[in-house]
């Protein structure tokens, strides 16, 4: 072996070692950051199993003993209404919103992506513009409409608008998706005598399934987490959703209810986390392609 190749080898080894150390450092930073990000949630989960005296004196999220009494105590509110009601109500609102969004947004998306009607570009621009419309400016007249219809304290104000494609984000998501499908499929179907509606239901809908799944997931998460419109329209406890149910812990701020409060907040996040675990890839792709807020 020549001296030059030996020095070449040691240089290569040194370079490799530097790279290794850099890798270790990077992982240390990332893991530390990840811990900071997730620590508040761990503290919440831990607190849900702790007696009140332990919650505000212990930084360690791991409880001394696993006691699920907080869950039992938190489930039923002082008024006798339980989280069973709130979960059912949240599920109803979510299901309604999802069905509405799937139907109405796919119809609109198909028209924008495939049909060459007059003023299409203008309406498409209007649709994109509605994404920027702050809800402050529409909320009062919307409330008046639902109030006049006597729909306050029902789920209708939370569900019915979804059947009219008000979430432009999803229209945009589906338009992007439909544009990626080869037109030849529809042309072949047209030759076989398939009409517009047939093409939509038989060709487009099955092919945009990933976009429909993304729409379902995001509608679920947003509706589950929503607070403002539920606060606005629902006002008796039997109609309360999870968000409104949780708020009760703040109103009746009896100092003794910290444990149960943490138990119920923890539990309320479980459905969203489960959806995240199962549909992680769809969620991430959905955000990356349209910039949806998670």
């Amino acid at each position: 072996m020549t001296p030059s190749s030996i020095s070449e080898m040691t240089r290569e080894l040194r370079r490799r070692r530097v790279r290794q150390w850099r890798g270790v450092l990077l992982h240390a930073v990332l893991l530390g950051g990840a811990f900071c990000m997730i620590y508040p949630l761990l503290w919440m989960i831990g607190s849900s199993f702790k007696p009140d005296s332990e919650i505000f004196t212990q930084l360690n999220p791991i409880p001394k003993s696993l006691d699920s009494i907080n869950y039992a105590r938190g489930w039923v509110l002082g008024t006798g209404v339980s989280f069973t009601t709130f979960y059912i109500n949240s599920m109803i609102v979510c299901a309604g919103a999802i069905i509405g969004n799937l139907i109405s947004c796919s119809f609109a998306a198909y028209a924008f992506a495939r049909i060459n009607f007059r003023f299409r570009r203008i309406w498409f621009a209007v649709m994109l513009g509605t994404m920027m419309l702050p809800f402050h400016v529409t909320i009062v007249p919307q409330y008046i409409i639902f109030h006049t219809l006597n729909w306050t304290n029902t789920f209708l104000p939370l569900i019915v608008p979804k059947f009219f494609a008000v979430d432009a984000f999803f229209i945009f998501l589906m338009v992007q998706f439909i544009r990626g499908i080869p037109v030849e499929l529809e042309e072949a179907a047209m030759i076989d005598g398939c009409g517009r509606f047939g093409m939509f239901t038989r060709i487009i809908l099955p092919l945009i399934k990933p976009a429909l799944v993304t729409t379902t997931i995001f509608t679920f998460i947003w509706t589950w987490n929503d607070f403002f419109s539920q606060l606005l329209y629902l006002n008796t406890q039997d109609k309360y959703t999870i968000s409104l149910g949780l708020r009760q812990f703040l109103d009746s701020s009896g100092v003794s209810s910290w444990g149960p409060m943490f138990a119920m907040t923890t539990l309320s996040l479980v459905p969203v986390v489960v959806v995240f675990i199962f549909f992680q890839k769809r969620l991430v792709d959905g955000i990356a392609t349209t910039g949806l807020k998670g």
Binding site: V29, G33, M37, A111, P134, F249, Q280
Partner: protein, 292 residues
């Protein structure tokens, strides 16, 4: 069936929604903003009185504006800086990418919920995590959420904590940067730091711009954290009186619907101007690849 008929038929639900729930209400609220209206009596035309009162007299409104602008101006850029930084670190083809991405993204997913806002109130409250940690360093713990000078900052931290979704968008953007650019500049002797400034950042400006506009629009409309953390009051001493919260209080607490509509319209104009400025400025700093 012609294309026009088919197109408008498929768009029928959307058109209905547009007129009933978006465009229609926007116009109606413009009308209401010039009236005195309490939901029960007929709207009473008072011309520009709502606006004059808001702009010249309503101290709480000015506070709400200041609080919201501080929140938007601080929380949105800091959030994006974290998102970009982490995206850069994660883009380096490291092991465990999907694990890290998931962990950093989870706060974005849960952050908008009432549950997390309640949690935040406890973290920064008396005996919460923050005051316990500060106590370790001998700093006497106080309740951050009930100190007027600190309360808004707890909400800003809550927003920054949710940098996961812009991070995912940045990650997707970083994948689009052609590898040849890095190879070519490596041959020219550019180090990673220089590559970041000369290649990555310019190539990423469209994504940064997109994220910035999204952040501005979203953070102007924040409601849940301020409502929950302050217990619906915007306190202490109005230090967390978000714009939305004040609209809610006036419109649905005091049923001054005309007044609330005027506030809504001013916000629409503000958001329009801010995003308009962002679009105008984008000509000077957003790099679009002309070659493509």
């Amino acid at each position: 069936m012609g294309d026009n008929t088919a197109g408008y038929l498929f768009l029928l639900p959307w058109f209905t929604g547009l007129s009933l729930f978006m465009a229609g209400p926007t116009l109606v609220s413009l009308y209401l903003s010039f009236t005195d209206y309490n939901l029960l009596d007929t709207p009473n035309w008072i011309a520009t009185q709502n606006y004059i009162k808001l702009i010249t007299q309503d101290r709480r409104y000015h506070t709400a504006l200041r609080v919201t602008l501080t929140y938007v101006m601080v929380a949105a850029p800091v959030n994006l800086a974290f998102a970009l930084g982490l995206a850069m670190l994660l883009n380096a083809k490291i092991a465990g990418l999907s694990f890290y991405r998931a962990v950093y993204y989870i706060p974005s997913l849960l952050g908008g919920s009432v549950a997390v806002s309640i949690l935040w109130r406890q973290i920064f409250g008396l005996g919460g995590i923050v005051s316990q940690i500060l106590a370790l360093f001998g700093i006497e713990g106080a309740s951050w959420v009930s100190t007027p000078s600190h309360a808004l900052w707890t909400l800003i931290i809550l927003h920054v904590w949710q940098f996961g979704s812009p991070m995912v968008i940045f990650l997707a953007g970083l994948k689009q940067v052609p590898a040849e650019l890095y190879e070519a500049s490596s041959i020219d002797g550019a180090g990673p730091w220089r590559q970041f400034w000369v290649i990555t950042l310019p190539m990423l400006t469209p994504v940064i711009f997109f994220n910035l506009v999204l952040q501005i629009i979203n953070s102007f409309q924040a409601f849940t954290p301020a409502f929950i953390v302050s217990g619906g009051t915007g306190g202490p001493l109005d230090s967390t009186l978000f714009y939305t919260l004040y609209v809610y209080m006036q419109g649905f607490g005091n049923f001054r619907m005309g007044y609330a509509s005027a506030m809504g319209w001013i916000l629409l104009v503000i958001i329009g101007v801010v995003t308009g400025l962002a679009f105008l400025s984008s000509r000077y700093w957003v790099h679009y690849d002309d070659a493509k």
